[in-house]
């Protein structure tokens, strides 16, 4: 009896360390971690992001060491002075103010000291870094990456197309990439090389029977896409074309699985796997794959960052009004579950007009809408919808409309003018039905941002935003909601007319 007990104890003693080791190393490398990535021209650095209270913080000295040369520091009990390049930075514990060469900059949250480390809120990257280093700092609010110096991140657009027994994911990159694929925890990971990548969208919205989710992640300094298939047992065939810019990945059911599915018995998705909305539980197996990816609408909020645009009587800025409006239009369109939305700017940044057009063209949108507010006279609120008018020939000739195989960047919009005008007409009709708003007939304007958009494109201008007219109606949430709903209806009408 005692011998048996001893043998069991010995077995347990061997098993317990094995179980502990398995628990430790199981999923030892999580696919996502909470970090901030700094991309420099020849390197990338990762710093941990830590939540303190309601805000996210990064360690101050680590960040300063990455972006500039720290020449010295003096630490007191509740304050820290650091010399970076030719600037002196002073921070105080629990104080929002950062003092740079005798000037104060206010952060969104107070500076904290955690485990002896000075921590600054993420807002430090956008508010302070550009003032202390010579290189340009590009940081999209809400993202966890910043580009310091002459770093040109590549970007990509994606689309999903149905193929027999599967879906084809096509990724179009702006620069050449080297890819490597791996499978981890039932997910497919596409590593996109060492060079920085800035995705156009923070979140990818789509409906597909084979792919449940796409997630971009570079939290460990390695840009990659994580694909979650909607069920187990799908085959994945990624292939990069010769140019190194187009990746096609087919996700298909194995032939055996397809044969088994006739008559219709669908293998149930593995527990925990996300079920796409297109497959209702208990529904018949999709004999034909689900429809194509949702059509894209690109929304462009004019201006941003140091370019505030027009200014209203109470200091209201055009860049803020249009950003608010774009957020409402985006929500209204997403609520229909009929569109995927791409924004040309997220947060208070100012991409160039060509970058905005590039974002639009990369997304192959159904329509492009740019929002502005300016001087439209004394009848406020007023809305004018514009389409593009080329400056050199106010009425484009037939030659301009036939672009041939290649579409010239500078005149891409010319081939789309007729459809742009149809969309402007649909918008004007819906805006005209709003009460208390003066709506002008669709107009034309030599709008620079519309020039290179290769899709039906319009500019919506709200007015008047000047210092001598009451601009309060423009910031009214109800007014903005009404405009958003009118845009949703106009888009439905426009699509109806197309088909």
């Amino acid at each position: 009896m005692a011998k048996l007990l001893l043998r069991r104890t010995r077995t347990l003693l061997i098993l317990i360390p094995i179980i502990i080791l398995v628990i430790i190393f199981w999923q030892a490398r999580p696919l996502r971690s909470d970090n901030f990535v700094f991309y420099l021209p020849n390197a990338s650095h990762v710093v941990p992001v830590q939540a303190i209270g309601h805000a996210n913080y990064v360690p101050l000295l680590q960040v300063l060491n990455i972006v500039g040369k720290v020449q010295g520091l003096t630490a007191a009990r509740d304050s820290l002075k650091v010399w970076v390049e030719d600037n002196q930075i002073e921070v105080r514990q629990d104080d929002k103010k950062v003092r740079i060469m005798k000037k104060n900059i206010k952060l969104s949250d107070p500076v904290r000291v955690d485990n002896g480390q000075w921590m600054v809120p993420l807002n430090f990257i956008e508010a302070v870094l550009p003032k202390i280093i010579r290189e340009p700092v590009v940081y999209r609010l809400g993202s966890r990456r910043a580009f310091i110096g002459d770093v040109r991140p590549s970007s990509f657009s994606f689309r999903l197309d149905p193929i027999p027994n599967g879906s084809r994911l096509t990724l179009q990159f702006t620069n050449k990439v080297n890819i490597r694929t791996a499978s981890r925890n039932g997910k497919w990971v596409i590593y996109l090389g060492e060079k920085p990548v800035q995705p156009l969208e923070q979140k990818f919205n789509f409906q597909d029977a084979y792919l449940a989710n796409i997630q971009f992640d570079d939290q460990d300094g390695m840009p990659k896409l994580i694909l979650t298939p909607s069920s187990d047992g799908l085959n994945f065939y990624p292939k990069l074309d010769d140019s190194g810019r187009t990746l096609m990945a087919d996700m298909v059911k194995p032939a055996a699985a397809v044969a088994q599915q006739l008559p219709p018995v669908q293998a149930p998705p593995t527990p925990g796997a996300a079920v796409p909305p297109s497959i209702a539980p208990g529904a018949a197996a999709p004999a034909a794959p689900a429809g194509p990816a949702l059509p894209v609408v690109v929304l462009d909020a004019g201006h941003g960052a140091e370019d505030s645009g027009a200014r209203g009587e109470n200091g209201v800025l055009e860049k803020d009004i249009v950003a608010q409006l774009v957020a409402r239009v985006r929500n209204a369109l997403l609520a229909t579950n009929k569109y995927r939305i791409v924004l040309t700017r997220v947060g208070d940044v100012n991409p160039s007009l060509d970058q905005r057009a590039a974002t639009a063209n990369g997304a192959r949108p159904e329509v492009f809408i740019t929002f502005h507010a300016g001087n439209l006279g004394i009848r406020a609120p007023r809305i004018v919808v514009y389409t593009y008018q080329p400056p050199s020939s106010p009425t484009p000739s037939a030659d301009d409309r036939s672009p041939g195989i290649f579409i010239p960047w500078a005149t891409a919009q010319l081939s789309q003018l007729a459809r742009s005008q149809q969309f402007a007409q649909a918008l004007q009709e819906k805006f005209a039905s709003l009460s208390g708003v003066t709506v002008s007939p669709p107009a034309v304007a030599p709008m620079r941002v519309l020039r290179s958009v290769n899709a039906p494109a319009v500019a919506v201008e709200l007015g008047s935003l000047t210092t001598d007219v009451d601009s309060s109606p423009l910031t009214n949430p109800n007014f903005q909601e009404e405009i958003s709903n009118a845009i949703v209806q106009a888009l439905d009408d426009f699509k109806g007319r197309q088909t």
Binding site: N375, L376, P446
Partner: protein, 200 residues
């Protein structure tokens, strides 16, 4: 009693100081408000002087097109001026008249402090106008306001100087992307008569 007098004296001193601060604040505010008016006055004087310096020639009625923000159109206004003899000087004259402003209270297409650094007319009829960058910074931004401003210049020049077929706007001698974020300045502008108010 002495203590009470001291308190009263302190109160009066504080009141005088407060009044002094308020007065100083009002003065600086007034100075700030008056500054542009002063600048405008100087600009107007300079413009008139420049116009007077033009060589004596025939008197001519010219048509200027001023933006009407309410209507989204250009409204014509006639002026009698002493017309210069060559086209480049005439371009200067038309622009100076536009900068001088409308007599009907319509918006100026260009801010009063605008400086036209140079104007050229090429053999193919393209007028190159080189404005100072300070003019650009003061521009009323907006799709309609910028479009009307550009066509105010282009239509006014083309209507009065037949050899002007197109207009190219430069800033500080350089090509710029837009006027103030909206209107494309990367191309030549041809006159667009549809922008002019019909029937006037």
């Amino acid at each position: 009693m002495t203590r009470r007098a001291g308190v009263i004296a302190l109160a009066i001193l504080l009141a005088v100081l407060a009044a002094g601060f308020v007065y100083l604040h009002l003065l600086t505010r007034r100075a700030k408000l008056e500054a542009p008016q002063h600048g405008e006055e100087v600009a107007r004087t300079q413009l008139r002087e420049a116009a007077l310096q033009s060589p004596t020639g025939p008197t001519q009625n010219i048509t200027l097109y001023f933006p009407s923000d309410d209507e989204g159109l250009l409204v014509p206004e006639t002026r009698q001026i002493t017309w210069a003899t060559n086209d480049t000087d005439r371009i200067h004259q038309v622009l100076l008249a536009l900068i001088d402003g409308s007599y009907q209270g319509l918006r100026r297409p260009l801010p009063p402090s605008t400086e036209l650094r140079a104007a050229f007319l090429s053999s193919d009829g393209t007028a190159y106008l080189d404005f100072s960058s300070s003019a650009l910074a003061l521009f009323t931004p907006g799709i309609q306001s910028e479009t009307l401003a550009v066509y105010s210049i282009v239509n006014s020049l083309a209507a009065n100087i037949p050899s002007v077929k197109k207009v190219r706007i430069l800033v500080q001698g350089q090509e710029v992307e837009t006027l103030n974020g909206h209107a494309d300045l990367g191309e030549d502008y041809a006159p667009d008569p549809t922008r002019n108010k019909p029937g006037s």
